[in-house]
Amino acid sequence: MCLAIPAKVKSIDGVEAEVEVGGVSRKASIMLTPEARVGDYVLLHTGYAINVIDEEEAQETLKIFREMAEAEAKDSSN
């Protein structure tokens, strides 16, 4: 379940935000994420932001992937 897509917050007006993903813009509600700020990335599910994406964790995850990939490359060449 749960199609939710990372979207960038472009503007906020009360509980309503304008979010954008890959060039597609939509109005979204930030009732569930009042801490969202312009420039944040949120997970958009049925028109609501359900959380603010932790960019540091996102980078950390990609770093882990790359490290795993390098370790794998080393192992397989041994």
């Binding site: 379940m1 749960c2 199609l3 939710a4 897509i5 990372p6 960038k8 993903v21 890959g22 109005k27 509600s29 009732m31 569930l32 994420t33 009042p34 990335y41 997970l43 599910h45 049925t46 028109g47 609501y48 359900i50 959380n51 994406i53 932790d54 960019e55 964790e57 996102a58 950390e60 995850t61 990609l62 882990i64 992937f65 790359r66 795993m68 990939a69 370790a71 794998e72 490359a73 192992d75 397989s76």
Partner: protein
């Protein structure tokens, strides 16, 4: 697209797969019970790429598939009432209920409209003050808070012709029911990503603690799922089951506190009726007394008729991962996306639809 494309990197994927192939020595039966995972695994062909030690099973993760006929019959009965506009997510429209479907009612003249969000349903309510707009509330903990928010918004804006038919379900109780039934042997669970954004990781702690089963909360992109499988293999190889979060950019251990509060404000827990499983105590949500004026069940005379389950349909067994679609006598021959018999075929996330569409029985 940021936060999507990076997690589809083919080169990194191949390396992750190689790593899993190397490290997985013990048989690992892994169940995912989130339709989004079912589809992603099928779409990217991940099953084929994993080593033979790993078996991927699909559990009752599709909220559409687990909606009981009796409940969907209520939606259909509402759709037939005069001056009622039914607003629904697209997923529900083709699902066969006892005698009809929302799509069929639409063809027969019912006002049934597909919306992307409850926000759209609220707009429809505002533009049609002389009609009653009923929103068919389906979904797990990811979606329930958004429906709760819509009820609060209706209250704030004085929209008095908006109603919700709550068919919402909760995940952890059904996992417990499944594990208690002992029907399927599972070594690890791919925990739902977006449900966990809301509920956090604590609700799953009973799984490793009481059942010794590994748990990792996964995102939806191919690299996310591979990372999750890698972490599950790790737990299984070391015999150290616990709850871990792979989807760290989305999930915090405490979840989304505000969403949980809003959900709790509008809804209360009740028994849930799961297709193919039956009643699971404490697994459903209904609107609280304070919000009864928005509850469709409270405000309309709903006469759904006796529920009928389609003959020969084993969606129940498939939802509980006791059988695969390939073992269903109706699969493909009688039951297909054009003429679905059960919900597993209709829902875009249902196991049968995924098998049919992406050819799970096809070995690349």
């Amino acid at each position: 697209m940021k936060f999507i494309s990076e997690y589809r990197d083919a080169e990194l994927g191949k390396k992750l797969i190689a790593r899993i192939q190397q490290r997985s020595t013990k048989p690992a039966r892994l169940m995912e019970f989130c339709g989004g995972h079912t589809v992603s695994i099928a779409k990217h062909g991940l099953r084929q790429l994993l080593p033979p030690t790993i078996t991927m099973l699909s559990g009752p993760g599709c909220p559409v598939c687990v909606t009981a006929s009796a409940d969907l019959d209520k939606a259909i009965a509402l759709a037939k009432l005069p001056d009622v506009i039914i607003t629904t997510f697209g997923d529900m429209i083709k699902v066969p209920a006892s005698r009809s479907s929302l799509q069929q009612v639409k063809a027969e003249g019912g006002d049934v409209r597909i919306v992307y969000s409850t926000l759209d349903a609220l707009k429809i309510a505002q533009s049609n003050p002389s009609k009653s707009v009923v929103f068919i509330g389906v979904g797990f903990e990811t979606t329930a808070p958004t429906i709760a928010a819509s009820v609060l918004q209706a209250e704030q804006q004085g929209i008095d012709n908006y109603y919700v038919l709550s068919l919402h379900k909760l995940c952890p109780p059904v996992v417990k029911a499944l594990l208690d039934s002992g029907e399927v042997k599972i070594d690890g669970i791919v925990c739902p990503g977006h449900v966990s954004v809301i509920i956090g990781s604590h609700p799953y702690e009973f799984i490793p603690r009481d059942y010794g089963i590994a748990c990792v909360i996964s995102g939806f992109e191919p690299l996310d799922i591979l990372q999750c499988v890698d972490m599950l293999v790790d737990q299984i190889e070391n015999g150290q089951p616990k709850v871990e979060i792979a989807y760290r950019r989305g999930v915090k251990p405490e979840g989304n506190r505000i969403a949980l509060e809003l959900m709790d404000k509008v809804f209360e827990v009740c028994d849930g009726n799961w297709r193919g499983i039956g009643v699971v105590p404490g697994s459903g949500l209904r609107l609280r007394k304070e919000y009864q004026r928005y509850d469709a069940e409270h405000n309309f005379e709903i006469r759904p008729g006796e529920p009928i389950e389609p003959k020969g349909c084993i969606c129940g067994d498939i939802l509980r991962a006791v059988k695969t679609p390939l073992e269903c006598k109706l699969f493909r021959k009688v039951c297909n996306p054009e003429h679905p018999v059960g919900p597993c075929m209709v829902s875009s996330e249902g196991s049968c639809a995924a098998y049919y569409q992406y050819g799970e029985g096809y070995g690349g």
